[in-house]
Symmetry: C2
Subunit: 438 residues, 2 copies
C-alpha cells in the first residue's frame, strides 16, 4: 500500500458541518449547540441533508431497517463485488450537544470520497460512507444503537421495539422530558427513515471513524490527530443503600442508620479504588458515581435510602472486574459496619475492544506521508467503532477538542484540525481500499 496525498477541501467540509449544525440548533450564550435526538424532526432534516449531499457526490444511498444510512461509491473500474471499506460516524447529539461530535466523522468520510473523486483515483474496493442511528443513547437504549445492529449484537426487531422511555434515558448521556412511549420503529417511520434490511458491518473489509477526542490529551501533546489503540470497556452499576429514615432532631447519633453517610463512604471508596487502578494502568482506569438520589431528602430527616449509579471503565476487562468487585465488597462492609441493606446490579457491560493493527498502521502511515503527527492514545468514551471493531477491522482517529469540552456548546475543534484529520483519514481510507488481496 502506498500512502498519498488527496485534495481534501477543508472549506467544503466546514460548510457541510456548519449546515448540519443548523438542524436542532439551540440558543446558547457561548459556543454552538444542537439537540438532535434520533427520530425527531431535527434528525430528519439532518438525515435528508446528508442524503442530498451523498447523492450530489454520486453515492448510492440505502437506509436499513433501523435507519442506518449508507452511501456507497462504486466508481467504474472498482471491483464492485469486493468487500467495501466503510467510513463514518453518527448524526445524533446529546441534548444541547456540540456540532462536531458525530457529524465531523460522517462528513469527513464524505469529503474523503469527494477528495478521491477530485484526484481522479479509483479505489479497488467500493467505499461506503455511513451514518449510524442513535449513538448517544439519549433516546432508545443506552447508545451505539445502529452500530450494535450493524455488528449483529442487537437484533433488528429488538431494536425497533425499543421505546423512548425515561428509564433508559435516565441512564444515558443526556436527559429530555417525560417519556412518550414511542418505539424506534414508530419514530423512524415518522421521519421517513425506517428502511429495509440490515447494514452488515461484518461484510466490510475495514472501517474507519474520525471523531473528536472529548478530552485534552491531544491538546496537551500538541498533536493534531490521535490514533486510538483501544476503546475502554464500560460497566455500569445501579445500586441502593437502605438505612432508616428518622427525625434528625429526635434520633441520637448512636441510634441512626443513615443511608447517605453510608453512600458517602461508597463514593469515596470507589474513587480511591479507581485512583489506585489508574496509577496501575497508565491512567486509563476510571470510576465515577454520577447519580445519587436521597430519599426522603428533607432537611430534618435522616436519609432512609439512597439510589446511585456508578460508571467504571478501563481498556482491560480484568481491571473493570476488579473495580466492580471493590464496589461489591465496599457495600458488604457497609452492611456489616453500618447495618444498612444494599443492592447492586450491573445492567450495562461493554467489554473493551482493541482497534485493528491494519487500520492503526494505515492511519499512522497516512500521518507520516502527510507530515501530520499522529499520537497513540486510548478512548475513554464508547463509539460506534467499538461495536464495528468486534466484527471487522476498525480504526478510530481523534481530532483535538479545545479544552476537552464535550457534550455541550463549548465543544470545538479548529477547522484546520478538522481538515488535517480528514486528510489523514482520506489517505488511510484510500490505502485500505486500494488493495483487494485480503
Amino acid at each position: 500500500m502506498t500512502a498519498r496525498r488527496f485534495p481534501v477541501d477543508g472549506e467544503r467540509l466546514r460548510r457541510d458541518i456548519e449546515r448540519n449544525a443548523q438542524f436542532g440548533a439551540t440558543a446558547t450564550d457561548e459556543g454552538q449547540g444542537r439537540t438532535v435526538l434520533p427520530g425527531t424532526e431535527p434528525n430528519r432534516r439532518a438525515r435528508e441533508n446528508l442524503v442530498n449531499r451523498m447523492v450530489a457526490a454520486d453515492l448510492d444511498v440505502t437506509v436499513d431497517a433501523v435507519g442506518n444510512v449508507a452511501g456507497t461509491w462504486r466508481p467504474d473500474g472498482c471491483e464492485t463485488d469486493a468487500a467495501p471499506v466503510a467510513v463514518g460516524s453518527h448524526l445524533d447529539s446529546v441534548p444541547n450537544g456540540g456540532i462536531f461530535d458525530g457529524p465531523l466523522g460522517v462528513y469527513a468520510g464524505l469529503e474523503a470520497v469527494r477528495a478521491m473523486q477530485d484526484a481522479g483515483v479509483t479505489p479497488m474496493r467500493p467505499i461506503q460512507v455511513v451514518a449510524f442511528t442513535g449513538e448517544e443513547g439519549t433516546r432508545f437504549a443506552d447508545g451505539v444503537l445502529g452500530s450494535s445492529v450493524a455488528a449483529g449484537l442487537l437484533a433488528v426487531e429488538e431494536a425497533l421495539a425499543l421505546t423512548d422511555d425515561s428509564e433508559v434515558r435516565g441512564t444515558a448521556d443526556g436527559r429530555t422530558g417525560g417519556g412518550d412511549e414511542v418505539t424506534l420503529r414508530e419514530a423512524l417511520d415518522g421521519i421517513g427513515f425506517h428502511g429495509e434490511g440490515r447494514l452488515d458491518a461484518s461484510e466490510w473489509h475495514a472501517w474507519l471513524e474520525l471523531h473528536v477526542e472529548q478530552g485534552e490529551r491531544l491538546e496537551d501533546l500538541g498533536a493534531p490527530a490521535g490514533v486510538v489503540t483501544s476503546i475502554t470497556g464500560t460497566a455500569r452499576l445501579r445500586g441502593t443503600i437502605e438505612g432508616e429514615a428518622a427525625h434528625s432532631g429526635t434520633t441520637a447519633m448512636a441510634g441512626r442508620t443513615d443511608a447517605l453517610a453510608a453512600a458517602s463512604e461508597f463514593v469515596l471508596a470507589l474513587e480511591d479504588a479507581a485512583r489506585e487502578a489508574a496509577a496501575d494502568t497508565d491512567g486509563t482506569a476510571v470510576g465515577t458515581v454520577g447519580e445519587l438520589d436521597v430519599d426522603p431528602g428533607a432537611v430534618n430527616v435522616v436519609p432512609g435510602e439512597v439510589a446511585f449509579s456508578a460508571d467504571i471503565r478501563d481498556v482491560d476487562g480484568a481491571v473493570i472486574d476488579r473495580l466492580v468487585d471493590r464496589a461489591e465488597s465496599t457495600l458488604a462492609d457497609l452492611e456489616t459496619e453500618r447495618g444498612v441493606e444494599t443492592s447492586l446490579d450491573r445492567p450495562y457491560d461493554v467489554p473493551p475492544v482493541d482497534m485493528a493493527a491494519t487500520c492503526r498502521t494505515a492511519l499512522h502511515d497516512a500521518g507520516d506521508a502527510l507530515d501530520i503527527e499522529t499520537a497513540d492514545l486510548h478512548s475513554g468514551a464508547g463509539h460506534d467503532s467499538m461495536q464495528v471493531g468486534r466484527v471487522t477491522d476498525a480504526g478510530l482517529l481523534f481530532a483535538p477538542s479545545r479544552d476537552g469540552h464535550s457534550h455541550n456548546p463549548l465543544e470545538w475543534t479548529d477547522w484546520a484540525d478538522c481538515a488535517a484529520a480528514t486528510a489523514v483519514l482520506t489517505t488511510a481510507l484510500a490505502s485500505l481500499a486500494e488493495s483487494t488481496t485480503d
Copy 2:
C-alpha cells in the same frame, strides 16, 4: 400548691382525638395517617370541630389574626384579671403524618379543663386552651408559626404575608405539590380563621404542652411520661460544592474536580463531628445532611455541583456553633485539597431554650402525686413550647411514641399512656392555676 387527682376521662379524650383524625385522613396500609396543612379544608374542619368542643365545655373562644385559637375558661370565682395559665399544642400535621402529633396536646388541655369542671374545682387563674397555627412548617415558613407570633418573635403582618411557596416548604418537615403563591392571610380568610388581635404568650402566668416524644427514650426507660428539661436549638445550613462536570469516560481520575466526592467527605466529616459532640454531651448533639442534590446527575458525567442542607442541634448553643465551625472548616479544607469552590449559609437558627423550673416541678410533683413515673429528658425536636418558653414559664410533657415512629402513619401512643400523661398535665395545670400569688 397541692397536687391532686382529677377525674380525667381517657375515653372522652380518645373520642376527641379519633374524631380529629378523620379530618384529612389518608389512605394507608398500616397505622392511621392525616394531612392537615394550615389553611386547607381539613384544617378548617379540624379547627371548627375544636371550637365546637370548646364551646361545649363553656370556653370563651377567640381567634387571633394569624389563626391561633384560644378557649378561655373563667369559672365563677376565679380571679378573672389574673394572668391565665395556658395549655395546648397544634392541630396541623406534616403530609401523611400521625394522629397524635399536636392534637394530643390540644385535646389533653381541653380534657384537663373538663376534668377540673367535673371535679367541681375552681382555679384561681383563668385557663386558656390553645391551638397554635402552623407548627409543622410544611406550609408558610419553617414552623412554630403561630407560637412565634404569640411570643412576639414574628410580627403579625410579616406572618400574614408569608406565602405557600415551595422554597420554604423545601426546608420544612414535609413536602407538598408545587407552590400556589397563596399568602397566610388569604389561606386563613379562605377557611374563616383570620381573626383579630394577637394572642400574647407573655401575658400568661405559665404554659404547659403535652406532646408525643417522637423518639424511643421513654419506651426504653419504661416511663409513661417525660418532663422536658431543654429543647434543643437548631441551626440549619445550606451549602454548595462546585467542581467541574466532565465526561466520566474521557476524564482521567487525576484530572477531576468531582463535586460529589467532595460532598461525600463533607457528609462524613459532619457525621464524625456530631458523633464526637454527642459523646461529649450525653448524646444530645446531632448533625445530619438530609438533602443532597447532584448536578447534572447523569451516569456518565463526573458531578459538577452538589447542593446540600445540614441540620445541627444541641441543648447547648456553644456546641451548635462548634459544629457549624467544623462544617465551615471542612469546606475550607475541601477547597484546598480538592480545588472545589464552596458556599455555606445559615438561614435558620433557633437557640436552645430551657423549660421553666416551676413548670418542671409542677409536672414532676403531679407525677409523684398520681404515682406516674416522670423521667427527665431533653427534646431534640422543636415545639411551640420553645417559642412560648422565651417569654413566659413553659413546661413540656412527653408521652411515649411506640418504636419512636413520628411524622408518618405508624406514629402511635397507647390510649392508656395518653390518659396517664393527661392526668399528669391536669394535676400540674391545676397546681399552676391554683396560686395567684406571683
